[in-house]
């Protein structure tokens, strides 16, 4: 470990940072026989960078040399950037030393493609294997599966890693081919299905043999770049909900396009990354995973894109006033979940506490319901308020989006000067 390692670390971290995934959840592994490390099922973030993203895993590339020339990628062949490659031992010792100081929760290993996908996978495997077998490391390992890698290598990787991921990157195949001519959906979906099948087989095996080694216990994830190509939110969410149908798919990440490469005619010119859209997509993703929404409820033919000024749940409620107001003391859980301003936790608390007594505005507020939003959509054990039925959706939308106006002074308002 010396100055050259420092330089390499800087170069390869810069190259790895655009991958958004950093979750360290999904695996619980206790420490065995006084070795190093453990994995907590809920995931632990150890730091946060100045852009607010969490640093949970030591996210690093084995090398940023790459034979592909994908227009969106900072590491593409035609870019003139510093290149570096880690030796397996260097990366292993960095991971262990960082882990011992409680800087990180584990390793997230990615790599540019060198020679061919299988060769790259083998080099990555060497790192992961050394951590797990030589150093008996029990921390979390997330490994990228290189598109186009063979079934055997994916299987081996799955025995050492907690989570594998293959990135889709562009949400439709024709645009992927336009932007990354050397890639296609086949090469992405194949490793994905290897992982999925491996997981299913492993589940069956573990039913027969309780101590059979686990295969990617934390499942797989993927990532899509948002705003680099003209897909609508409806297409993106449709694809996500298809992916979530595989039980092994734990997370789909959305990464607002950051123009890392200047002057490529195939990509749009953006002033700032589409951060609001990215946020709305994550909210929609949450609605699908935790709020029992379907993709075609969040967006439809009439509204193929998410409304950027309101969150998707409020957007749905405003388009469907016929479901409201909801009686908090009688409605079922599914319906309470759909009320804007009530989250999963509050909904569960409402269901639990209404067995004891009826709930009114005050109790709801104390429970943590955002009454500013919820008031238009509920009735509770009090006189009915001014709900969406009386107020009309247009008015509710205006009340809930005009927050900037309220604090601003009207320039036409005349002021009396009371100061002496």
């Amino acid at each position: 470990m010396n100055e050259s390692a420092l330089k390499k670390l800087k170069t390869l971290a810069e190259s790895a940072k655009y991958d958004v995934s950093c979750a360290s959840s999904g695996t619980t592994r206790n420490n065995k026989n006084k070795t190093l490390g453990s994995a907590a099922g809920w995931g632990i973030c150890h730091s946060f960078t100045e852009d607010g993203r969490c640093v949970s895993l030591f996210k690093i590339m084995l090398t940023n040399n790459c034979m592909y020339d994908c227009a969106y990628c900072v590491n593409r062949r035609s870019n003139d950037i510093p290149r570096a490659t880690f030796e397996a031992e260097e990366l292993v010792s960095l991971t262990i030393e960082f882990y011992r100081r409680n800087y990180i929760e584990g390793l997230f290993l990615s790599s540019g493609v060198i020679k061919n996908p299988d060769y790259t996978m083998e080099r990555m495997l060497a790192v992961v294997k050394s951590l797990r077998t030589e150093h008996r490391f029990n921390g979390y390992i997330h490994m990228k599966s290189i598109p186009g890698a063979s079934r055997e290598l994916v299987r081996q990787a799955g025995l050492y890693a907690d989570r594998l991921s293959v990135n889709i990157e562009i949400p439709s195949e024709q645009n992927l081919k336009l932007i990354a001519p050397e890639k296609d959906y086949q090469s992405v979906y194949k490793p994905m299905s290897y992982i999925h099948q491996g997981l299913l087989e492993n589940q069956e095996e573990r039913q027969k043999f309780r101590h059979a080694p686990r295969f990617v216990p934390a499942g797989q994830s993927t990532q899509m770049i948002i705003g680099a190509t003209p897909e609508t939110d409806r297409q993106i969410l449709g694809l996500s909900s298809l992916l979530y149908r595989q039980p092994s798919m734990k997370r789909v990440y959305y990464s607002g396009y950051v123009p890392v490469n200047k002057s490529d005619s195939r990509l749009p010119i953006l002033e700032i990354p589409p951060l609001v859209r990215e946020n709305r997509l994550y909210q929609a993703d949450w609605l699908m995973r935790f709020y029992h929404f379907k993709a075609n409820e969040i967006t439809d033919e009439k509204f193929p894109n998410l409304d950027l000024s309101v969150d998707p749940k409020l957007g749905w409620a405003l388009r469907h006033p016929e479901y409201f107001p909801v009686d908090i003391n009688k409605a079922d859980y599914e319906m309470i979940l759909r009320v804007p301003g009530i989250g999963v936790k509050s909904a569960q608390m409402i269901i639990a506490s209404r067995r004891y007594s009826k709930l009114g505005h005050w109790e709801l507020k104390k429970i943590g319901v955002v009454m500013k939003r919820a008031q238009y959509f509920i009735t509770c054990n009090e006189l009915t308020h001014y709900t969406i039925q009386e107020a009309r959706p247009e008015y509710v939308r205006k009340m809930l989006t005009d927050k900037s106006k309220k604090n601003q002074k009207d320039p036409n308002q005349l002021l009396l000067n009371f100061s002496e």
Binding site: M1, N2, A5, L6, L9, K10, A13, E14, K17, Y18, N30, N31, K34, T35, L36, G37, S38, A40, I44, C45, H46, S47, F48, T49, E50, D51, G52, R53, C54, V55, F58, K59, L94, E97, F98, R100, R101, N102, Y103, G256, V258, I272, P273, L275, M349, A352, S353, R355, Y356, S357, L359, E363, K366, I367
Partner: protein, 255 residues
């Protein structure tokens, strides 16, 4: 007004409940020893901790409450930052015994709600300690980390670190409450440093006790941390929200 004065431990609190039932009085406040009594304290009962009584009350609680609610109470009793903690927990326990049905999910009741919120606060603080502990390696291969949490959460996180760093010696020291835990590869025990070195107040060990490669790894980590930031997305508000400023003083990457 009636006051119960207890020693601030969870055991003491359970004894206060015992005392209340055996004397058939309900105090207006249950307070720590060090807290000042108000001007209107006519009746002051000081509670002597007694393991036998505490166990009896605890067993009774376990019959009335689910296991998760019991552990929630024990965790909440570490909320040293909450001003009237004794009275709150006392009321919660009395209510549990005085009602037929278990009260633990009745969030319409303000005491139940406050206890559950306080529990969340304490467990969030203990999670943050788990997240933000930063060890420094010393010449004698002991990993040392100072912490300064607002609630007394160190006892809650010791198990996590004992399990995780089972092959290295470590010390985690609460600088605010002046005690810590030391793991010697076999057991974890409580320790108190008699005289903290002056430079330890800042949390940084002096150069001559640091392991020879410690500075290098700190440098590597700082470099890594800096290069992970995407300049186009800088968001200081979110940064401070996720990584509260009060933790910065002991974070290697924020030095």
């Amino acid at each position: 007004m009636t006051f119960f004065v207890y020693d601030g431990t969870f055991e003491g609190l359970l004894c206060a409940v015992f005392e209340s039932y055996s004397r058939k009085i309900v105090p207006d406040y249950v307070i720590f020893e060090k807290e000042q009594l108000s001007l209107f304290s006519d009746d002051v009962v000081s509670i002597v901790s007694n393991a036998e009584q505490a166990t009896r009350v605890w067993k009774g609680l376990q019959k009335k409450l689910s296991a998760s609610a019991c552990s929630m109470l024990a965790v909440t009793s570490m909320a040293s930052d909450y001003p009237d903690l004794g009275s709150l927990l006392f009321r919660y326990v009395r209510k549990t015994f005085d009602t037929q049905k278990s009260i633990e999910t009745n969030f319409g009741d303000s005491d139940v709600l406050v206890v559950s919120k306080l529990y969340k606060k304490v467990s969030r603080e203990s999670n943050r300690v788990i997240q933000f502990v930063r060890f420094q390696k010393t010449v004698d291969n002991i990993f040392f980390a100072p912490i300064d949490p607002i609630h007394n959460v160190l006892p809650l996180v010791v198990k996590h670190f004992t399990n995780r760093f089972a092959d290295q010696k470590w010390v985690i020291y609460d600088m605010r409450r002046h005690y810590g835990y030391y793991f010697d590869l076999k057991t974890t025990q409580e320790i108190i440093f008699e005289n903290l070195q002056a430079d330890l107040e800042s949390g940084k060990l002096s150069e001559n006790v640091l392991a020879h490669d410690e500075k290098l790894f700190q440098q590597l980590w700082k470099t890594y941390f800096k290069s992970m930031t995407i300049k186009e997305r800088i968001n200081p508000k979110l940064h401070r929200q996720n990584l509260p400023k009060r933790f910065w003083k002991y974070l290697t990457e924020k030095q």
